[in-house]
């Protein structure tokens, strides 16, 4: 994993001042030195602010859709891959940053926005102990869904749009 890839995981968790390159944390230092990651951090900040603004005004489902969709369209495939490769357990989130993380993940696209696709029926390999873990949701064709892990490990929210 390159330093930039590692930092992109941190960008999803970073505090605003770190994303702005302020302070001495590894993330802040990297953002100051790396123009590409600085742009990614700026996008996360922008999306977070836009989402906060929407949700503060009127939190209807349609507007959540709109924000997620707009963020998803702006996704960068390479960044999206970096985000989706990260194991969830390696990215603990604080409740106060919930929407920031959601917005950031929506912005980078792949982790939360699963394009509709058809998967093969569960194969026999699923029986063994080393079987690959199936995704929580297998969206229908044309369907997109945001998968939001909550602080309660037993509760997962799936938002379809």
């Amino acid at each position: 994993m390159s330093p930039c890839e590692k930092m992109r995981h941190l960008i999803l968790e970073g505090e605003p001042h770190e994303l702005r390159g302020e302070g001495g944390s590894p993330l802040a230092v990297h953002v100051r030195m790396c123009p590409r990651c600085a742009r990614a951090a700026t996008r996360v900040l922008d999306e977070t602010e836009r989402l906060d603004a929407f949700l503060t005004r009127d939190p209807t489902g349609a507007q959540v859709d709109a924000v997620l969709e707009r963020a998803g369209r702006a996704a960068s495939p390479s960044t999206a891959r970096a985000a989706s490769d990260a194991p969830p357990a390696a990215r603990p989130r604080s409740p106060s940053r919930r929407w920031a993380v959601l917005a950031a993940a929506a912005a980078v696209g792949a982790l939360l926005l699963l394009p509709g696709r058809s998967l093969p029926p569960p194969g026999p390999e699923l029986l063994g102990p080393g079987a690959r873990r199936l995704p929580t949701v297998e969206a229908m064709t044309g369907q997109r869904v945001a998968v939001v892990e909550t602080d309660n490990p037993e509760i997962t929210v799936l938002w379809f749009f």
Partner: protein, 220 residues
Amino acid sequence: MKKWIIPALVVPLLAGCGGQSELDTRTFAINHLRPHEATALIEPYVYLDREGVPGSYSAAEAAITVRETPDNLDKIARVLAEYDVPRSDVRLRFQLIEANGFTDSDPAIAEVEAELRKIFQFRGYRLGGEAVVMATDGSRIEQALAGSDGFYSVQAAVYWAQADLIRLDEVTLASRGPGGAGLTTTVNIRPGQTLVLGSSSRYDSPNTILLTVTAEAVDG
């Protein structure tokens, strides 16, 4: 004397080799696995590319016939004995949650509501309807749920996708009124896990409708 030593050693060796390559055919009853699951389990023990005497198998709905060496047939028997076992039934608890328009908290959905409030900013949540459904592996369920503004139906095909993962195939929440608009998707849920399925309103309701499903394994 020496003339007899070599044949005495070689003949048993050849006999041993011949014994290893001798194939036998056996049919195994399959009681609980689906055919594709059974074939995938046994495939590693069937040497389809063995030179001269390849193994083979064919699967039917409730049986699989294998042509292999006796040793491998015994291994296959052991594998099937371990994995072709009854699967637990599944208890599914559905809750229809209506969001927006209310300010009170609903103790019946306290655990889920606590998490929803961290994510969404709907003014409130309340339990519209609730139902518990028992499903066997491979069955299809359909359940009506009463909301405050009408009836909904939940449908899904339920089966174990992995040892610890239940698949709700094409789970659908639809309003039962004219039009019957709804949401259909496929989810994989762990026993003990709760999934909350939501979308911007696509039902004939002024509220946003969320469906929670909690799965539990129920041993017979």
